[in-house]
């Protein structure tokens, strides 16, 4: 098995932990009720573009389920569905070989919008929220988008390198 792959998976789990345990401390108090960053999702978008959208789909469902069970407030399945679906759709639409940076950043922006909008739609469907979409867009989705974009820029270079190494290794194994 590929060691690099396992290390990446472990790092992804660590990122999930940090999201709940460290990010609230870094953000200033007044931002804590506005921003709900989902960093694991951004990494999965990278996986979907540079590696394989089916892997991203499975990882999205698994990590979404993890999030749902650990932070079980109202119901299980929202994050799982939304993360799996939006990573897959993004990988499905942008089937570009060796996508350059602007394309990847577009994916991050569109993916983030799709993710938060779907989440809102599901909560609205089960009438767990009463705010309008416009309000939600201004107060949650767009601030999240900015944070996701910055995070995407930070991890772009190292993550792409690692993911392409994994892809190259797999190609070699297939050829051998």
């Amino acid at each position: 098995m590929n060691v690099r792959k396992q290390v990446l998976l472990l790092l992804l789990f660590l990122l999930f932990i940090l999201e709940g345990a460290l990010i609230p401390w870094i953000l200033p108090g007044s931002w804590q009720s506005i921003l709900a960053p989902n960093l694991v999702f951004i990494v999965l978008l990278f996986v979907s573009i540079y590696h394989n959208r089916h892997t991203a789909l499975v990882l999205g469902i698994i990590f979404g389920m993890l999030h749902d069970v650990v932070f079980y407030g109202d119901m299980i399945g929202t994050y799982s569905l939304v993360m799996g679906f939006s990573t897959y759709i993004m990988g499905f639409i942008f089937r570009v070989r060796r996508a350059p940076m602007p394309v990847m950043m577009t994916v991050v922006i569109l993916g983030s919008l799709l993710f938060d909008s779907m989440l809102y739609a599901i909560y609205r469907l089960f009438s767990l929220t009463q705010v309008t979409y416009d309000w939600n867009l201004l107060h949650h989705i767009l601030p999240d988008l900015v944070l996701h974009f910055v995070f995407g820029l930070i991890i772009y270079v190292p993550l792409r390198k690692q993911l392409e190494k994994i892809a190259r290794r797999e190609k070699k194994e297939k050829a051998a």
Binding site: A21, S33, L35, H67, F71, L119, S127, H140
Partner: protein, 289 residues
Amino acid sequence: MKLFKLLGNKRLFVILIALVMFIALMGFTLGPRASLSLPEKFLRDTVGFVQNIIYKPAGYVAGLFKDIGNMREIYKENERLKIALAQYTREKANYNFIEKQNKELMEDLHFTEQQKNKFNYSYHIAQVISVNADPVNKTLVIDLGERDGVKVGQSVISIKGMVGVISHVSNFTSTVKLITAMDAKDPNSNGIAVTSMNNHKTFGVVESYDETSNTLLMTQIKQDDPIKRGDMIVSLGDTDKYPRGLIIGKVLNVQESKFGKTKTATIEPEAEFQDWKQLFVVFTPEAPK
């Protein structure tokens, strides 16, 4: 013919089935559940263990920087606290007399053991180990669980006021659903019967939170209610759902309700929903079966 072609597309079929299954899962888990299944408990406890390792040190480091920042503020706060403490000691003497008298009266009136202990709450300190920032499904994970006797529905308070309700419990951790996620239409949330701290003639029900203005809404207030701006609102505790005397918040303003028969009040929550550290779970005395 076109429909068959569409169904012949295997990928679309799988996606549709998955969608239906997810919606079914959400619908199933939305209602009240007796307890969590074993895999869920295991997952929560394992993740909770790792979160516990990270959250506390991170909080100490972050807290250190913040403390250096408001050294002057702390000096002033100390001054205020000294004054408050002096007042408490004075009132404590008076309280002891009243409590003793109250006990004697209970004896005289032959209160049962259960009636005597009804308001004998105990407060268990809990450490927050993780925060979910999702605007609708706002939850915290705390490090007390089934082993410590925590049960679904117990109230959770911070030093300032009421924070939320325990929504799910596993062996070593439990999830707190914040009152900022309260909603009259939510099947899992119950309204809190409340009164004013200084005037018990006030009565109302707090059952929803308005996210756009960050206030709680208190409804079903009678027209002749003495409620006014600045009143401290506390829980009334006449049902088994919530204990008595939990601080909810201050009244911002009172207005006529939409239908005119009653009044509604907007309440600014007293607890701060940020920088989570320690919380208290309120244990009510066991009711005999």
